[in-house]
């Protein structure tokens, strides 16, 4: 599952990128609504968020952009937003409008399951799954809570830290993924830090899906033109997809 910051590097290229990742084998796409204070994000996504905000991106524009795409995506769309922009928009309006444009799931990194009941209730009315993040530091009690309250899949955070491509990931990661899978029927998708095919292969041995954000934005930054961006991201997604053994979409689309 690739992560793209809404409206980055610009609105037009962003929409083309959505089609590009779809065409190159992404099973789902996560769209990040930019926020001025992205606490869970490392430097790469911080910079992309800032640029998107400078381009005038908002919650409303993100939803409008998805709505006005010439052809609907065939893969599910998961929206990621910090709570304040969607709280400000109005939870009910947000879920209704997101549902109208075909959004399937919602990740809100600064909502903890203890505080997420209202969001879950509203999202459920509009058929949107709320996905919680499970961290390596989550206690047994919290793991149960997160697995019980997550819908669609569970987002397993690979390491203690913020988003951003890393050269290496924790050694016991697969063991931990396995342990979580034994406790739940939910597909387990792993994100944070994944930057290359060999890491994806390794994690793919136990995870149901991998989420890649900063590595893609790093690629986008290095290109000089829209066509270069599209082909470079397309190649990256293809390579990643090949690295993963299973090819089915575990998400109930």
């Amino acid at each position: 599952m690739p992560f793209l910051t809404s409206g980055y590097p610009d609105q037009e290229t962003f929409v083309k990128l959505l089609y590009e990742v779809e065409a190159n084998g992404a099973d789902l796409v996560e769209i990040g609504i930019p926020f001025s204070d992205p606490m869970a994000d490392g430097k790469t996504i911080q910079a992309a968020s800032r640029e998107a905000l400078n381009n005038g991106m908002t919650v409303r524009k993100t939803l409008e952009m998805i709505k006005s795409m010439p052809r609907k995506l065939t893969i599910p769309i998961i929206l990621m937003s910090y709570l304040n922009p969607i709280f400000n928009y109005g939870l009910r309006d947000f879920c209704r409008h997101a549902s109208d444009v075909g959004v399937s799931g919602l990740i809100v990194p600064d909502v903890i399951p203890d505080e997420g009941r209202e969001l879950e209730r509203v999202a459920e009315v509009f058929g949107i799954d709320v996905v919680y993040l499970l961290a390596p530091t989550s206690s047994t009690e919290r793991i149960h809570m997160i697995l019980n309250q997550s819908r669609g899949f569970v987002y397993l955070v690979s390491l203690a830290g913020v988003t951003g491509a890393r050269d290496s990931l924790p050694l016991a990661l697969n063991q931990w993924i396995q342990a979580i899978k034994e406790q739940s029927q939910l597909p387990v998708c792993v994100g944070f830090g994944i930057s290359n095919v060999s890491q994806a292969k390794e994690i793919g041995r136990s995870a149901d899906g991998i989420i890649i954000g900063s590595a893609i934005i790093d690629i986008i930054k290095k290109q000089n033109s829209t066509s270069q961006i599209l082909s470079a991201v397309g190649e990256f997604i293809t390579a990643m997809r090949k690295g993963l053994s299973h090819d089915s979409c575990y998400y109930e689309c």
Binding site: F35, S36, D37, P38, M39, A40, G42, Q46, L53, T58, V59, R60, Y82, L83, N84, P85, I86, F87, N88, Y89, D110, A135, T137, A160, G161, V162
Partner: protein, 391 residues
């Protein structure tokens, strides 16, 4: 530790000269500036350092705006033998330079934060990012009544010693409670610490004073409770300065410690219930109060505390001498002398004083030589053309 290390209880001081000058209510100052490290921030840091020690965390991180919290954290880290990293907005590092040096002397690593607006909220973001990365060995000492639960309550409880002491000191001095209690509000720790013990004293009016910066009609202020609307930042729901799209707005205050777009959630509750009135004071009003307390009582207040003083001045004018105002003097102002606005003001005051001295000397000369008109020219050279009639 509060007693022998920090110097508690801090005195309650009846500011007679200031009361006379303001010609209204009697002014009492709770001297939190006399704490070790020069502000109330140490109250919370000692408490949280004990907690970190109990949790066996060897590394401490913190955010700081004015640097007072950073200095207090660096101080307790020396005392407890812990490693210390402080995140500070790059803009704040410039305007609060003396505190940066103090932190460095106390072995803290001070990391400049350039992301966002380079002020307190961005330093807080960076501290949170560090915390989630190093949580195994690191405790995050948040300096104000903000952040995720239980920080707002914990910080308030560690700061409530201010109001507890002040309340009993007032009873001792005046045999009654104050009519009004005034404290500045950035994130809100000195004010909540001061208010907490007075909340159930219905007859006591509580005033929180925000920074109106260059004016509430401009975009350059930090008056969250006066101008914000509810939102979520740093893990709590509270009033927030934000755009129509829910993005956090940059703030402005001459006082770095008030330069924050959020506010403690308990303050938001007090605003909604009406128990505390939230007022605002502009940068220039605060600067006047800064000078006034310095010159009248020989006490140099922190710029942050000067916002409380400036509002208390207005309030005092509408009260009578049988009534009392208790002001939380949350910190000392030495750190602010490097601030360009303060430095400029001090310069102006010095020049005015020199000029006044010159006028005084020339007046004496005039008295001796009333037949020498060139003395009057000298006065006019000093820009005091109307002063000829002194002679």
């Amino acid at each position: 530790m509060l007693q022998n290390y920090s110097g508690r209880p801090t005195p309650l001081y009846y500011a007679k000269r200031l009361s006379d000058k303001w010609d209204g209510a009697k002014i009492y100052l709770k001297r939190e500036d006399l704490n070790h490290t020069g502000a109330h921030k140490i109250n919370n840091c000692l408490g949280q350092a004990l907690l970190a020690s109990r949790m066996n965390k060897k590394r401490i991180i913190a955010e700081t705006g004015a640097g007072q919290h950073g200095v207090a954290v660096a101080t307790v880290c020396c005392l407890f033998g812990m490693n210390c990293t402080v995140y500070m907005g790059s803009e704040d590092m410039v305007r609060q330079a003396p505190n940066v040096d103090r932190m460095k002397l106390l072995k803290a690593e001070v990391i400049p934060v350039t992301s966002g607006t380079g002020t307190l909220k961005d330093a807080t973001n960076e501290a949170i990012r560090d915390w989630v990365t190093n949580i195994e060995n690191t405790h995050y000492i948040i300096g104000s009544t903000v952040g995720p639960h239980p920080y707002p309550l914990m910080v308030r409880d560690f700061q409530s010693v201010i109001g507890r002491e002040a309340r009993s000191q007032m009873l001792e001095f005046e045999d009654c409670l104050p009519d009004a209690v005034v404290a500045c509000v950035g994130g809100g720790s000195n004010s909540l610490g001061m208010f907490h013990d007075f909340v159930n004293d219905i007859g006591v009016c509580l005033y929180g004073v925000e920074s109106a910066g260059e004016g509430l009609a401009t975009e350059n202020h930090a008056a969250t409770l006066n101008k914000g609307k509810p939102g979520i930042l740093h893990g709590s729901l509270s009033y927030l300065l934000q755009t129509a799209d829910g993005q956090i707005l940059p703030t402005h205050s001459i006082a770095a410690g008030l330069d924050y777009p959020g506010v403690g959630p308990e303050h938001s509750a007090f605003k909604d219930s009406g128990r505390v009135k939230y007022e605002s004071i502009s940068d220039s009003e605060a600067l006047k109060a800064f000078i006034e307390l310095s010159e009248t009582e020989g006490i140099i207040p922190a710029l942050e505390s000067s916002f409380a003083l400036a509002f208390a001045k207005k309030l005092a004018g509408s009260m009578n001498p049988s009534e009392n105002i208790l002001i939380c003097l949350s910190g000392r102002g030495d750190k602010d002398l490097a601030n360009e606005n303060v430095a400029r003001l001090i310069n102006q005051r010095t020049q005015t004083r020199e000029r006044t001295t010159d006028v005084h000397n020339i007046k004496n000369i005039c008295r001796l030589h009333t037949n020498r008109p060139e003395s009057l020219d000298a006065l006019s050279d000093l820009g005091l053309s109307g002063s000829g009639n002194f002679c």
